[in-house]
Symmetry: C2
Subunit: 146 residues, 2 copies
């Protein structure tokens, strides 16, 4: 069990409790969580606050040196936008809860030197499976699909 | 002269007047601006609100079909994060004011079918040249560089 993935999962569940899309993320620096967030599409009418983006926003303005020592945890494989954010800031490690529901540009991240690990956590899979069954239109909106 | 690039430039100048990084963007749908924004790093302590992200956020929750008919204008070549946001939503056209100051993953966007045009607008170039000369540390922070 990874306490940081658990923390990301807590964020995902908090999002679900708010009526939102249950995806969570945390940013870890030197063994400590410095940012945490969850998808805010529903809660804030946001088109950009995916879990990873919300997490980076909550972490605030870090130095390049800080980002380069950090690890981003997300319950779901990061999409093009969130992967791009990790590349922008040179985040070297990403731990992904699962990529059965959705798979972002993982090979592209790896080709840029990112160490990406997929845990295949059944709790993360189940959370999204149940959510998508209940609210497919919200999920499709979140990934830009009709 | 492109009125939409001019609108993005107006956003960049507004950001500068607020003490921020002078990069602006607008999203155009069916010949009409539906979102506009500028970099908010300084103004909101934001790590994610680059001009293009702020613009997409201001545009609100659009349908996939809307994004697929839209054009994103930015005064500066979009970084990995902002390019990723365009890919996430399937925005098919991006008009870039300039890419002398910074060049994002333009070839990657094109390889995904995005029609990307670089105007090489002297006003956009000058705005960033003067800003970076005055505040290099802010600019470096914005692109994740030490």
């Amino acid at each position: 069990m990874d306490v940081f993935l658990d923390a990301a999962l807590d964020e995902a569940r908090q999002g679900l409790a708010e009526g939102g899309i249950p995806i969570g993320a945390v940013l870890v620096l030197d063994g400590r969580i410095v940012g945490r967030g969850h998808n805010r599409r529903v809660q804030r009418g946001s088109a950009v606050l995916h879990a990873e983006m919300d997490c980076l926003e909550q972490a605030g303005r870090l130095t390049a040196a800080d980002y380069r020592r950090s690890t981003l945890y997300s319950t779901l494989s990061p999409c093009d936008m969130c992967s791009g954010a990790a590349l922008l800031y040179g985040i070297p490690r990403i731990v992904v809860g699962e990529h059965r529901t959705f798979r972002g540009p993982e090979d592209y991240l790896r080709s840029h030197g990112v160490e990406l690990t997929v845990v295949d956590d059944a709790r993360c899979v189940g959370l999204m499976r149940d959510f998508i069954a209940a609210r497919p239109e919200l999920w499709h909106e979140d990934i830009g699909v009709d």
